[in-house]
C-alpha cells in the first residue's frame, strides 16, 4: 500500500513536468533544457509574491505562471527561433538559459533555502499512510492538465494545427500554417505547464537556485522511457519511475539516495534496448 501511494504521488509530480517537455519536443522538435528552470522561476515567483509581498497565493501563482510564460515567449522569439533549425544549438542555448536563470535567482534570492506555504495545509491517512492535501492537489492538477491538453489538441482548431505540425512540418507549412508562430504558441503552453508545476509542487519542495537540475535529469529519464515526444508515453513512464523510486526507498532504506541513479540506469537501458522508448516513434532526420 505504501509503495502504491508513494508511487502514485511521485509519478504525478514527474508526469506534470514531463508532459510539458514532451509537448514542445513532439510538436517543434525543441529540446528545452530550460524547462525545469522555468519551473524554478515560477516557484520563486510564488515565493516572492506570496511571502515577500504578502499577496494571495492563488494570485501569486497566476502572476508567476503569466510571468514565466512571457519569458518563454520572449526566449522563443529572440533566442530559439533564429537557431531552431540547428537542434544542437537549441540544446546549448536552452542549457545556457537555464544556467543564466539560475544565476539571476542566486543574485536575487541568494543560495539560502526557502519554502512556500502549502495551498491546502494538513494531511489525511489512508491505510495508515499519511498523505498531504497538497500532494492530492498535485495529483488532481495532473489529471486536469492532461484533460486540458487532450481537449486542446483533439477538440480545437489550434490543436489540429499543432498536431498537423507534429505530423509533418513541411506539409503543414505548405498548407499555409505559420509554423514559427505555432511553435511559439506550443512553447508558451509548455512553459505555462512548467509554471503550473512550480506552483503546485513548489510548496512540497525546498526552494534553491539549483532545484532545476535534479528534476531535469529524472524528467529526461521519464521522457526517454516514454518515448520522445509522446505525451501518453511520458504519463505512463512517469508512473513507472515513480513506482521505481518508491520501491527503492521501501525495499532498500539505506540506498534511498539511489533513487536518482536508478532512474538514470533505466534511461540508459531504454536507450540501448529500445531507443524510441515505450511509445515513441523513430523520427526520421529528413522528410
Amino acid at each position: 500500500m505504501d509503495i502504491l501511494i508513494t508511487g502514485l504521488i511521485t509519478g504525478s509530480m514527474l508526469a506534470l513536468l514531463a508532459i510539458g517537455f514532451s509537448l514542445i519536443f513532439g510538436v517543434a522538435r525543441i529540446i528545452n533544457i530550460a524547462h525545469t528552470a522555468f519551473y524554478m522561476v515560477a516557484a520563486y515567483g510564488i515565493f516572492y509574491f506570496s511571502i515577500r509581498l504578502g499577496l494571495n497565493p492563488i494570485l501569486s501563482m497566476l502572476i508567476s505562471v503569466a510571468f514565466v510564460t512571457l519569458i518563454g515567449v520572449l526566449v522563443y522569439k529572440f533566442i530559439i527561433d533564429p537557431i531552431r533549425e540547428h537542434e544542437g544549438a537549441v540544446l546549448i542555448a536552452t542549457m545556457t538559459l537555464a544556467m543564466f536563470l539560475q544565476e539571476v535567482i542566486l543574485q536575487l534570492f541568494t543560495g539560502d533555502f526557502r519554502s512556500i506555504d502549502f495551498m491546502i495545509g494538513g494531511y489525511f491517512t489512508v491505510a495508515g499512510y499519511k498523505i498531504f492535501y497538497q500532494q492530492l492537489l498535485t495529483f488532481g492538477v495532473v489529471l486536469i492538465m492532461l484533460l486540458a491538453i487532450w481537449f486542446l489538441l483533439m477538440k480545437t482548431r489550434l490543436g489540429l494545427a499543432i498536431r498537423s505540425m507534429a505530423e509533418d512540418r513541411e506539409v503543414a507549412n505548405l498548407m499555409g500554417m505559420n509554423e514559427s508562430r505555432l511553435a511559439m504558441i506550443t512553447l508558451a503552453i509548455s512553459v505555462a505547464l512548467a509554471g503550473f508545476t512550480g506552483a503546485v509542487i513548489g510548496p512540497l519542495m525546498v526552494l534553491n537556485p539549483h532545484m532545476w537540475m535534479e528534476p531535469l535529469i529524472i524528467m529526461m529519464a521519464v521522457v526517454v522511457l516514454g518515448g520522445l515526444g509522446s505525451i501518453k508515453g511520458s504519463f505512463i513512464a512517469a508512473f513507472i519511475l515513480g513506482f521505481t523510486e518508491a520501491l527503492v526507498v521501501f525495499l532498500v532504506p539505506t540506498g534511498a539516495f539511489l533513487k536518482g541513479p536508478v532512474a538514470l540506469i533505466i534511461m540508459i537501458l531504454v536507450l540501448l534496448m529500445r531507443p524510441e522508448g515505450l511509445f515513441g516513434v523513430a523520427f526520421e532526420e529528413e522528410r
Binding site: 506555504d117 534553491n208 540506498g255
Partner: protein, 437 residues
C-alpha cells in the same frame, strides 16, 4: 577654471604617488584567503567571521611582526564547493598562484577540502579548515606530518567526536522520553549519503544497541532530497520514538518540515546543520519545532568569557547568530595572529611549531591540538569537558535554545560529583503529539 585644473593636477599627482607607494604599502600586509561557498550561509559566515577578526585587529593597529605592524588583507574565494568540487580546487589554486596569500581559512565540504588541502600543502601554506569534520583530514597530518603539517582543524571537531557528542545528546533525550512517557527507546537512524556521515553511521549503528535501545532501521536519503515522505512513512511504521538525524544539506529542511507536518511521534536529535541557522524556522514554516541539533553558538548560551562579546559583536554587525563556519574569526584572532606576533615571522614552518603546541581560549571553548598514538601531532581538536564540547540546542516555539550540557555527567564512575552546565540552558521538550500516542 584655473582652480579646477589645479585640482585635477593634484589628483593626478596623488594617484602617481599612490601607485608608486603601493608596493611598499602592500609589503606591510598579511594576506589571508577566505575560501568557502560564498553563495551559501556557510561561506558567508566564513567571510563574516574573518572580516570581524580582520577589522578588529586592523582597528587596534594591526599585527606586530618583529618590529613592524602589518595590516590584514582578506581575499575572498568562492569555492562553490557545495555544487562543484572542481570549482573549489580552482579557487584554492587561484589563492596560491594569483593572489599569493600567506594563509587560508575556510572550506566546508569534506569532498572539496581534501583537494584544497593538497593544494595548500603543495605551496606549504597554513590552511585552517573551518567547516569539514572528517577524521581523515587530520589523520593525514599524523601519518604524513612532513607534507600535511600546515593543515589545522579550526572547526568543528572531528566526525568521531561529533558522533560521540551526539550519543550524549541521544542519552539526554532518551532520559526525558523514559521519564515522561515511560516507553522503551526505539531509534531510527537517518543520515544523508555523504563522506562525512559514513563513520558516524557505523559508530551509531554499533553504539545504539549497547545503550539498551533498539535500532529500528537506517535510512540514507540524498543530501539534496526534496521529498522524504516515503522514508517518514516507513519510520512511523517502525515505531521509532527517536529519529537520529545526520544532515548537513537541504534534506535537513525537507525532513524537519515534512516530519512536523505529519506530526511523526518521535523526537529528532543528532546533527541537522540547517536547523542551526536562524532561517530554519521560516524555511520549515514552523514545522521544525522541537528539532534538536548539535551546534556551536546559541543566543543566550555562554561557554566561556569570550562567547558573549563574539556573539554580541556578530549580532550587531550581521543581525543574526553565527554558525560554526564563522569560527574563521577565532582561527584568525586567537590562532594565527597571536602565533605570528609570538614568532615574529610569517614563515609557515616556524608558525606550525608554535601553533601546534599552544592551548588557548576561543569563543566556543578551549583549543588544544591532539597527537596520534605515535605521539605525532594531528592538529585535530581536543574534545571534552574543559575543551570543546559544542552545545545541544532545540527549537522551542520559534526560538533556538540551549538544552545541553545541562547537568551533564561526563564521567559518573570516576567523578560522580562532576556536573557540567553552560550558562543559559533550559530543559528539553518533547513534541506534544508524542505524548498523545
Amino acid at each position: 577654471m584655473k582652480k579646477c585644473t589645479l585640482g585635477w593636477r593634484m589628483l593626478l599627482v596623488a594617484c602617481i604617488v599612490m601607485a608608486f607607494s603601493l608596493p611598499a604599502w602592500a609589503a606591510k600586509t598579511i594576506k589571508i584567503g577566505v575560501i568557502g561557498p560564498m553563495q551559501s550561509l556557510e561561506g558567508r559566515d566564513h567571510w563574516a567571521g574573518a572580516t570581524m577578526a580582520a577589522d578588529e585587529i586592523n582597528a587596534a593597529g594591526g599585527v606586530k611582526v618583529g618590529n613592524e605592524k602589518m595590516q590584514i588583507v582578506l581575499i575572498k574565494a568562492d569555492s562553490n564547493e557545495d555544487k562543484n568540487i572542481t570549482d573549489a580546487s580552482n579557487a584554492m589554486e587561484r589563492l596560491m598562484t594569483k593572489d599569493k596569500v600567506d594563509f587560508v581559512v575556510g572550506g566546508f565540504r569534506t569532498e572539496a577540502v581534501f583537494p584544497m588541502q593538497d593544494i595548500a600543502m603543495d605551496y606549504k601554506k597554513i590552511f585552517i579548515g573551518c567547516g569539514a569534520a572528517t577524521d581523515a583530514l587530520c589523520d593525514r597530518v599524523g601519518t604524513d606530518y612532513k607534507r600535511y603539517k600546515y593543515y589545522f582543524r579550526g572547526t568543528p571537531f572531528k566526525s568521531s567526536y561529533l558522533a560521540k557528542t551526539s550519543i550524549m545528546h541521544l542519552l539526554a533525550c532518551a532520559a526525558v522520553i523514559k521519564k515522561e512517557l515511560n516507553a522503551p527507546i526505539k531509534v531510527a537512524l537517518v543520515a544523508e549519503k555523504l563522506a562525512w556521515t559514513e563513520g558516524m553511521v557505523k559508530l551509531i549503528q554499533g553504539y545504539v544497541p549497547k545503550l539498551g535501545m533498539e535500532l529500528v532501521g537506517t535510512w540514507q536519503p540524498s543530501a539534496n532530497a526534496t521529498d522524504v515522505t516515503a522514508e517518514l512513512s516507513a519510520i512511523q511504521k517502525s515505531g521509532a520514538n527517536i529519529i537520529f538525524t545526520v544532515f548537513s544539506g537541504m534534506v535537513g529542511i525537507t525532513f524537519a518540515r515534512q516530519a512536523g507536518e505529519f506530526k511523526i511521534p518521535a523526537l529528532q536529535v543528532g546533527i541537522n546543520v540547517e536547523s542551526q541557522k536562524d532561517g530554519f524556522w521560516e524555511a520549515t514554516k514552523g514545522m521544525g519545532n522541537y528539532v534538536f541539533t548539535m551546534n556551536t553558538y546559541v543566543q543566550g548560551v555562554e561557554q566561556n568569557e569570550l562567547t558573549k562579546p563574539f556573539m554580541d559583536g556578530y549580532k550587531k554587525r550581521f543581525k543574526g547568530t553565527p554558525t560554526y563556519t564563522a569560527d574563521t574569526y577565532a582561527s584568525i584572532k586567537y590562532n594565527l595572529v597571536p602565533a605570528i606576533e609570538a614568532v615574529g615571522s610569517l614563515d609557515s614552518d616556524k608558525l606550525v611549531a608554535f601553533m601546534e603546541a599552544r592551548e588557548y581560549l576561543v569563543p566556543s571553548g578551549k583549543v588544544k591540538y591532539e597527537k596520534n598514538k605515535d605521539g605525532v601531532y594531528t592538529h585535530d581538536l581536543t574534545w571534552g569537558p574543559g575543551y570543546l564540547t559544542s552545545v545541544g540546542c532545540q527549537w522551542q516555539d520559534g526560538k533556538l535554545v540551549g538544552v545541553w550540557p545541562n547537568n551533564w555527567m561526563p564521567d559518573p564512575k570516576n567523578y560522580p560529583n562532576l556536573k557540567i552546565t553552560y550558562k543559559g540552558m533550559v530543559p528539553i521538550k518533547l513534541p506534544p503529539w508524542m505524548k498523545k500516542q
